[in-house]
């Protein structure tokens, strides 16, 4: 698990993160989201001991980040900018990382082979890392993060540079790793990926934690809206007002948007109401993470 308590990092007078506190339980995948410069990478670097905090404390799998070497044995870190040694082959690079984890030679060979197969790198094992595409380098980076069999994975923009098929397969892999009991903290700008892979999210804004909790609660708190599309549904506007704690109802031609305090009741109620009026439902949706995120971070997040 990851526990962060009042963690603060200043770069001179510039705030990286301030008073950050969050908990990610064992086996959970937490998405770290926020606009550029919000402190996501700083948080990940603090947790993997690449930066020293100005104040505050954090524990990774129960070990304080002050104990640098112990923490590094427990984590796998995938940096945002996937820089590799261009003169090493894929296999040599993975083996170098394994040797830094003091893996016995036979175990290292077997593990490197298994990882290359899992990450579809087997055919590239003798290719120099300098000749790899961005997506391939990302996969090598993931292999480097996994070679030490980490309890905690810290992934900075893990899907950047990957094609849609690779993205889907990586998200599947992340979920599988969490099911094996690894704790994952990943930063991403791609919100639908976060909603797909993560059970909880932490939203950072200007270095401070703006929200930490479940995705459902986040949506309901920041964007408690149900949209229904059906021909003639606008006629129901007056009927819907005041139902399910509806705060506002907006009607357009063929579309009704309801902001309600009880979203589940609103969804069920709308379906029943439309059935009672024999109106065929074209779509019923609660706007996603993106709308809630934009509402929380505002213009800054959209930039």
């Amino acid at each position: 698990m990851i526990e962060v308590r009042n963690l603060t990092k200043y770069y001179g007078s510039i705030r990286g993160v301030e008073d950050l506190s969050l908990k990610v339980p064992k086996g959970a995948v937490c998405g770290l989201i926020g606009p550029n410069g919000a402190g996501k990478t700083t948080t990940l670097k603090l947790l993997c001991c690449l930066l020293k905090p100005t104040s505050g404390e954090a524990w990774v799998a129960g070990v304080s980040i002050r104990e640098e070497l112990k923490v590094k044995k427990l984590i796998g870190y995938l940096p945002e900018s996937q820089i590799l040694y261009g003169f090493l082959t894929v296999r040599e690079h993975i083996e170098l990382a394994g040797r830094l984890h003091k893996l016995p030679r036979a175990e290292l060979k077997a593990k490197a082979k298994a990882l290359m197969e899992e990450l579809k790198l087997s055919q590239l094992e003798d290719r120099r890392c300098g000749a790899l595409s961005l997506g391939q380098r990302r996969r090598v980076g993931l292999a480097l993060a996994l070679i030490g069999d980490p309890e905690v994975l810290l992934l900075d923009e893990p899907t950047s540079g990957l094609d849609p098929a690779q993205r889907a397969s990586l998200l599947k892999l992340i979920k599988a790793m969490a099911e094996e009991g690894r704790t994952v903290l990943l930063s991403s700008h791609v919100l639908h990926e976060v909603s797909e892979a993560c059970s909880t999210i932490a939203v950072l804004r200007e270095g401070r934690l703006a929200y930490h909790g479940s995705l459902e609660e986040f949506r309901e708190r920041y964007c408690p809206i149900v949209e229904v599309e059906a021909p003639g549904v606008e006629k129901l506007e007056s009927e819907v007002k005041g139902m399910w704690g509806a705060k506002s109802v907006k009607a357009e031609r063929g579309k009704l948007t309801v902001e309600a305090s009880d979203l589940d009741a609103a969804r069920v109620g709308l379906v029943k109401l439309l059935a009672a009026h024999s109106l065929p439902v074209r779509s019923l949706r609660s706007p996603g993470l993106e709308e809630a995120y934009l509402k929380l971070v505002g213009e800054e997040g959209a930039a």
Partner: protein, 249 residues
């Protein structure tokens, strides 16, 4: 024998792979310096215009070997300074230091691997080139191998100092260009200071005293104690380089 730490072994292996052009080039330069020194002495005075031939004394193996050590001090040590300092700074400039430090490895071990591999490659090149130069010099006449080895041992202390001081400079800079330029400038300044202090007691306290004595050892009987001052500098500077690298942000 106690086995070195596996991570240090891995880091040294990485360094040797990374510098697989630089280190052989260093050996090649030193071999060429030795061969050129012998070739020039062999060709003299016939390569000079007739009117100049009588102006230079008759040269032999001793002169060729003295010339080789002088060129080594001026050219090879400069290359060693640049190669060592840039290898320290490169990791920071390219952003690959983070790649290593994300694994359970001490920062000072990364610096130690760089210093060790640079020192080993430089000393290996010196040993190879000194033996080769002695072998070439036999075409000019006999010269005792023991004297060449003694001069090489004194030069080794200068190499240790050059590697350590350049490693420290490389730890202070983030760009290879700044690191290499400052190491080259320091090397030239140290040699000039050593030359200016020559014959004065201060010379014994300067880091290139062993370089001066290596050159003298070709013609005179010189004690290996001359290596102690540069070795003391090398030890202190190497420790400073490790601490600086470990503490850098």
């Amino acid at each position: 024998m106690r086995r070195v730490q596996p991570e240090l072994e891995a880091l040294i292996w990485k360094e040797l792979k990374e510098r697989k052009l630089a280190y052989p080039s260093l050996a090649a330069v030193m071999l060429i310096l030795g061969a050129a020194s012998v070739a020039v002495v062999y060709a003299l005075p016939e390569i000079l215009p007739e009117e100049l031939r009588g102006m230079i004394p008759e040269l032999g193996a001793e002169d060729a070997i003295a010339d080789y050590f002088e060129n080594t001090a001026q050219i090879a040590l400069l290359l060693i300074a640049v190669v060592t300092s840039t290898s320290m700074a490169k990791e920071v400039e390219k952003g690959t230091l983070e790649l290593l430090l994300a694994h359970p490895v001490r920062r000072e071990l990364v610096a130690l691997a760089k210093l060790t591999s640079s020192l080993a490659a430089s000393l290996g090149s010196l040993a190879l080139a000194s033996l080769a130069t002695w072998a070439y010099s036999r075409i000019l006449g006999p010269y005792p191998l023991a004297k060449v080895l003694k001069a090489a041992l004194l030069m080794s202390a200068s190499i240790a100092y050059t590697c350590a001081s350049s490693a420290l400079l490389g730890s202070l800079f983030r760009a290879q260009l700044s690191a290499g330029a400052s190491a080259a400038a320091l090397h030239i300044a140290s040699l000039v200071a050593q030359g200016l202090a020559s014959g004065h007691w201060v010379a014994k306290l300067l880091p290139h005293y062993s370089t001066q004595m290596a050159l003298a050892a070709v013609t005179k009987e010189i004690s290996l104690k001359a290596a102690l001052t540069p070795l003391a500098y090398a030890t202190l500077l190497a420790l400073a380089a490790l601490v600086t690298y470990a503490r850098r942000k």
